[in-house]
C-alpha cells in the first residue's frame, strides 16, 4: 500500500512537470490521443504473458517516435495523423482484450504492485523529472522560438524527441492507476490549472506538481473510502481543482 502511494505520488510529480510544457506547446489533444496507443501494446503483452507495462511502454515509444517524425514534415497535418492513427490504435487494442483486462487497461485499477513494476516506475519517474529539471531552460527557449533556440546552439529536433519520449514514459507510468483513457488527463489538467494561476514559469511548474499530487492523494483516499476505482476519482478531483481555479480571475 505504501509503495503504491509513493509510486503514484512520484508519477504525479512527473506528470505535473511534463504537462506544463505540453500545455504551453498546445499539444493537449495530441497528448490525450498518444495515451491511446498504449492499448494494443497491453493487448500484445497479455497475449505473450509478459507484464503489460512493458508492452505499453514499447508502443508508446513508437507512438512518440511517430509524432516526432510527423512534426518534422511541416506539410502534413500533425493533428489529423495523430487523430486517425491513435484512434485506430484504441480500436485495435480494444479488439485484442475483453472483460476485466479491457476495463483495467482503459481506466486503471487497484492491485498488488510487482517488483518489476515498482523498479520500472521509480526509475522512469526519476528519469522524467531529471529531464524536465535539467532541460527546463532549453525547453523554454524552444517554446518561445525554435529559430532562436537554434541560434543559441540548442539541438531542437533532438530535444523535441527527448521531450516526446519523456511524455510517453510518463503516460506509461500512470497507466496502472488511470488507464489508457484517463492518464492524459493527469498530465494535462494540473498543468492547465497551473497555467491559469501562475505568474511565472517556476510558479507554473510548482503549482502543476502540487495539483497533480493533491489530486492523486485525495483521489486515492476517496477511492478507498467510497470503494471505487482510483483513476476516475483522481481525474475528478483534478478537474474540480481546475474549475476552482476559475474563481481566481
Amino acid at each position: 500500500m505504501i509503495e503504491s502511494l509513493v509510486l503514484s505520488i512520484t508519477v504525479a510529480i512527473a506528470a505535473g512537470l511534463v504537462g506544463c510544457f505540453a500545455v504551453m506547446r498546445r499539444m493537449a489533444l495530441a497528448a490525450d490521443a498518444l495515451s491511446h496507443v498504449a492499448l494494443p501494446g497491453i493487448g500484445v503483452a497479455l497475449a505473450l504473458h509478459i507484464h503489460p507495462i512493458f508492452g505499453a511502454a514499447a508502443m508508446l515509444f513508437f507512438g512518440a517516435l511517430m509524432v516526432w517524425a510527423v512534426e518534422g514534415k511541416a506539410r502534413v497535418g500533425t493533428e489529423t495523423v495523430i487523430g486517425v492513427l491513435f484512434s485506430a490504435a484504441l480500436a485495435v487494442g480494444s479488439m485484442m482484450m475483453t472483460g476485466e483486462d479491457l476495463v483495467g487497461a482503459l481506466f486503471g485499477g487497484a492491485g498488488i504492485l510487482s517488483w518489476p513494476e515498482i523498479l520500472f516506475g521509480a526509475g522512469a519517474a526519476i528519469l522524467v523529472v531529471s529531464f524536465v529539471v535539467t532541460q527546463r531552460n532549453n525547453l523554454v527557449v524552444i517554446l518561445v522560438s525554435p529559430d532562436i533556440a537554434r541560434t543559441a546552439g540548442i539541438n531542437v529536433r533532438l530535444l523535441n524527441l527527448f521531450y516526446l519520449q519523456a511524455f510517453a514514459l510518463t503516460i506509461a507510468l500512470g497507466l496502472r492507476y488511470l488507464g489508457v483513457l484517463l492518464m492524459g488527463a493527469l498530465i494535462i489538467i494540473p498543468a492547465a490549472t497551473a497555467k491559469r494561476v501562475a505568474t511565472n514559469l517556476t510558479g507554473m511548474l510548482v503549482t502543476a506538481v502540487l495539483v497533480a499530487v493533491a489530486a492523486t492523494v485525495a483521489g486515492t483516499w476517496l477511492a478507498t473510502w467510497l470503494h471505487r476505482e482510483t483513476g476516475p476519482l483522481i481525474v475528478t478531483v483534478a478537474a474540480c481543482i481546475f474549475l476552482v481555479s476559475f474563481l481566481r480571475r
Binding site: 523554454v140 522560438s145 532562436i148
Partner: protein, 231 residues
Amino acid sequence: MDHVLEVDHLSIRFGKTEVLSDLSFNVAKGSSLAVIGPNGAGKTVLFQALIGSLPFEGTIRWAPNVGIGYVPQKLDLERDVPITGMDFLQARSRRAQGSDPEISRVLDLVGVSREASESVIGTLSGGQFQRLLVAFALLGNPSVLLLDEPTAGIDEPGQKRLNELLCGLQEARSLSVLFISHELSMVSQYATNVLCLGHQRMCWGPPRKILTPDVLREIYGMPVDQHVHDD
C-alpha cells in the same frame, strides 16, 4: 576569411515553388547588410536558411566560431503562457553560463525596465517585446546579429534609440549585423551593403548603387522615393 558569411548560389524551394534562386553575396566582418524587398520576396526565408532552419541548395559558410544572435519577425506564442521576460532571458543566460548582472546590463542597453522584464511576455507591448528579443540576442556576446524587422511595432523615439544602439554596438564590439527592413532611409543610413530581393531580380552592393529610383522601381514594381545620404 575576411568575411563573416559567404553565400554561394543559394536556392530555396518549397515544393515546386522556388523562393530564392542562385543567390550569392558575402558579409565582411564588422559590416552591416540590409536585406530589402517587397513582401513575399523571401527575406525571412533567407534568414531561416542562414540559421539552419530550412533546407537549401548551394553553400552557406559562416566564419569559424561565429556566435549568432537572432531576432525573428514574429512569434507563434500564446499570450497567456506564464513565462516572464526574465524567465526567457535567464534561460539563455544560464545556457551560456552568464550572470544576472549581464541580464541587467542588456536590459539597460535596450531600455527595458526590470519591472517590465518580470511581466508575463504576453502582456508586454509590441515594442517592449521586440526590445526583449534584442536583449536576448545580445546575451552570450554574439559576433553576428540577424534582425528580422527589428523596429517593427516600436514607436518613433524607440526606433531611433534601437537603431543608435545597434549602430553603437556594431562599432564597439565589431559586430556584423544583417537586418531586414522596409525603412529605406534607415537602410541608407546604417547599411554597409544592401541585398535586394525582388520577384524578378536580385541585386547586391553599397546603398548608393542599390537605392536608386530605377533599381527600386524594378524591385518593388512601382516608383519608390528614396534619398540616399551623402555622408
